[in-house]
Symmetry: C2
Subunit: 495 residues, 2 copies
Amino acid sequence: MFPHFIVHLKQEIPNCSTMSKSKNYGFLISIAVNILLISIGIYLYAGGGRWAEKNLQIGHLQSTPPLGWSSKAALEAEIVAAMPCSGHGRAYVDGSGCECNGCYVGDDCSILNVTCPADAHGGDCMYLEPYWIENAVDTAVLISGWHRMSYNYADGSMISSELEYYIRKLHHIVGNAVTEGRRLVFGVGSAQLLSGAVYALSSKEASIPSNVLATAPYYWLFRDQTSFFDAKNFTFKGNTSAWHSNNTNLVEFVTSPNNPDGGLKESVFHKKKVNDHVFYWPQFSPIPKAADEDIMIFSLSKLTGHAGSRFGWAIVKDDDVYDKYSTFNFVASIGVSKETQLRALKILKVIVKGGGTGRPFFEHADHLMRDRWERLTAVISKSTRFSIQERKPLHCTFFDETRPPNPPFAWLKCNREEDVDCQAVLQQQGNIRGRPGSLFDDSTSYTRLSLTSPEDQFDLLLKRIKALVDQENGYIETVKSSNGSPFYNRKGLYM
Amino acid sequence: MFPHFIVHLKQEIPNCSTMSKSKNYGFLISIAVNILLISIGIYLYAGGGRWAEKNLQIGHLQSTPPLGWSSKAALEAEIVAAMPCSGHGRAYVDGSGCECNGCYVGDDCSILNVTCPADAHGGDCMYLEPYWIENAVDTAVLISGWHRMSYNYADGSMISSELEYYIRKLHHIVGNAVTEGRRLVFGVGSAQLLSGAVYALSSKEASIPSNVLATAPYYWLFRDQTSFFDAKNFTFKGNTSAWHSNNTNLVEFVTSPNNPDGGLKESVFHKKKVNDHVFYWPQFSPIPKAADEDIMIFSLSKLTGHAGSRFGWAIVKDDDVYDKYSTFNFVASIGVSKETQLRALKILKVIVKGGGTGRPFFEHADHLMRDRWERLTAVISKSTRFSIQERKPLHCTFFDETRPPNPPFAWLKCNREEDVDCQAVLQQQGNIRGRPGSLFDDSTSYTRLSLTSPEDQFDLLLKRIKALVDQENGYIETVKSSNGSPFYNRKGLYM
């Protein structure tokens, strides 16, 4: 790797705020880009002004030698990044203009659609996007047209040894998993690794298939995936509560912190198990000790928010299990994208390099999640109709203090007897989209709400929850629509 | 998308040939990079000289506005690309120095290891690497740290509609597959799509599993994959020749052009089938007509050589099959890497944009493959001991002429009765590594040899084959080792 540059990265990018006038799309896009390009050129040369995007406090090389073949791609990326999307969206080089967050619409994402549902049903961790924008210089990667065309790396393997090194280093810094003496399997997101683990662990005799279990509430993909693949050697059998510990032919999914409720979970049966630790990072949970399990699965999606990259890794103790697991990854997809591995490397390096402690990244992420939980708790504390999971403080070895977790999801309960379908209640009375408890093999009186969305989307969610709680307490709020005229929806609380 | 730039891309990059002196690796790498960076700066500013790498005739932006946050990544990529690897290797931003082709070794890949086997056993299409280097400007992509972090694109899907558009356009230009009225499934290489197709097509009743078949010689992954996943609803049953056409519960793999022998194949049973068309491109085969099958699978690996990207697509006729196929892709990996999709888009655009005809790319690729076949045929024509597959000329609608195919692999036969294990003969007497016929469910008197390796690797393969043929005809050649001293290996022909 080529890690060090002698130039300093302090000077801010000059402002291109006048560019906000150019909002042509569709067939006018190329003309717009040309104008934008000239504008950028002029403004960057002129060195005046400030960049429009609020969060784009991006460093600038003090003395940049002129570039050659890479200039066009770099310029293209900077033009797109400079597109003004009102802080409620983002443009991408493979898109066609601003792509807006949640309920924002319009060419520049400046309009809030007040009737749009607050979206809290997904698993994206977009709350971290501003962090990567702040770290634009060190996380950008230029991929040449001939970058790693082969199936293999130079050592003949399909995994980047450099990336493996940084993953091990990260676990060492964070102290959340034992990696010494273990081997790593890379996968196309944790999704591929979860099913791979079942193949690697399941019965060798098709006549006696392994029973695959999880403790409810559990991540729905375990069921959907295992059922879909429907192999001769394993069958999904649902909740551990229906099983006895004297059954030896089990493969147990243990998710800790748990999806959906964020609790630190242990195996029920202590036999063959797959430990899904994708949320076992300091921003979501205290780290009481380094996990030390047979198969531990992590993902970039939940650590850094890069779900689109589809990258995960499994830390594997047993050599035979590792061999079968690796074979699975080979026959399933002949490895993992080299572009993805390169990008994951760039991102993880930035985390690891924060003074070698990882603190800048995890403190940032923790700060955001803690703030959201405090705001949510303040609202829910005024309700008897709704409640959320308890957050038990534990000692965190990473932050070296006792602290409550900040789970990625609120596991919200509707406490009224008549609110049988909590998800329907939230949707119909609160205009909030979550995921129903039944999806997680639990009661429909629960709903899972994502707390890791972009800031504006979380704000809207909180506002809608507050409106429900206010209604419960006898307040009816009159709010204004985006065009300034008073807005009140007779159905209730569609704000 | 932002397709047009007003600047011209004609001026060549200035030369940095003096940089070839800096060959420090290991712990000295960061110092080396700093020196290199200063050198690049000085040389690029000075504007003198020529870039050392023979093939790096890369365009240069005539007037580049200074860049901001993207500069570091761009510079890093250019520094790495400029590393002198003697035309026998390449450095990568996630590597640690030159990574050498085939039998070349040394810090700058300048030394040929004469005892090293000629590697013809893989499936890489590195013969196209120089083309992507020539097209460096248009194929480079800068991925920002916050590029597409979400699981989804703006339209809620997991596939880039822009990429889908260019894939459809490419098939339209080439005329090799009907896409109108069909839907596309993206996959993590053709490997994922092949198994997904079996799930999508297989029996709905686990009690009567589908019999999965292929006509030998067939691509070994069909067997390994289907057997590994070992689902209740399908079982791999091997060669079609052992089956009768009255069996209705079949899923047939049809590979055309076939891997390993390059022949255009048709279905035997004309029932449920998966058409693997990854080699159905003008550089490998005449295109007599647009393929019009139920499921047609293509990949970037075989079209452009970007195997490391793990990207493929399936063109699907039936809506129900499409739904199950999409579900498969979702539960298997929750889609395909967004970095990969962006890069595939960049690459395909370059092909499609060649005057809108695709001709520059396919003519280049065809020229290389044709040249290799001519050279190989000239050597093999002097042998009775070895023979290769017949190449039947057909009318190609793309090139509008009748022409023989240029298959990616030579399907070489050892004709002597005593040469029972052809692969062992080549390895022991010729120091050539191919893949044995038995892997493809055919006789061991066959060996598959890859013809799509980098030029130097193909040259070595051809030299080794020629030496075997010369030996057959009574000539013994004395060749020189890389240090200039005469080299003769008493075991025979290890050159």
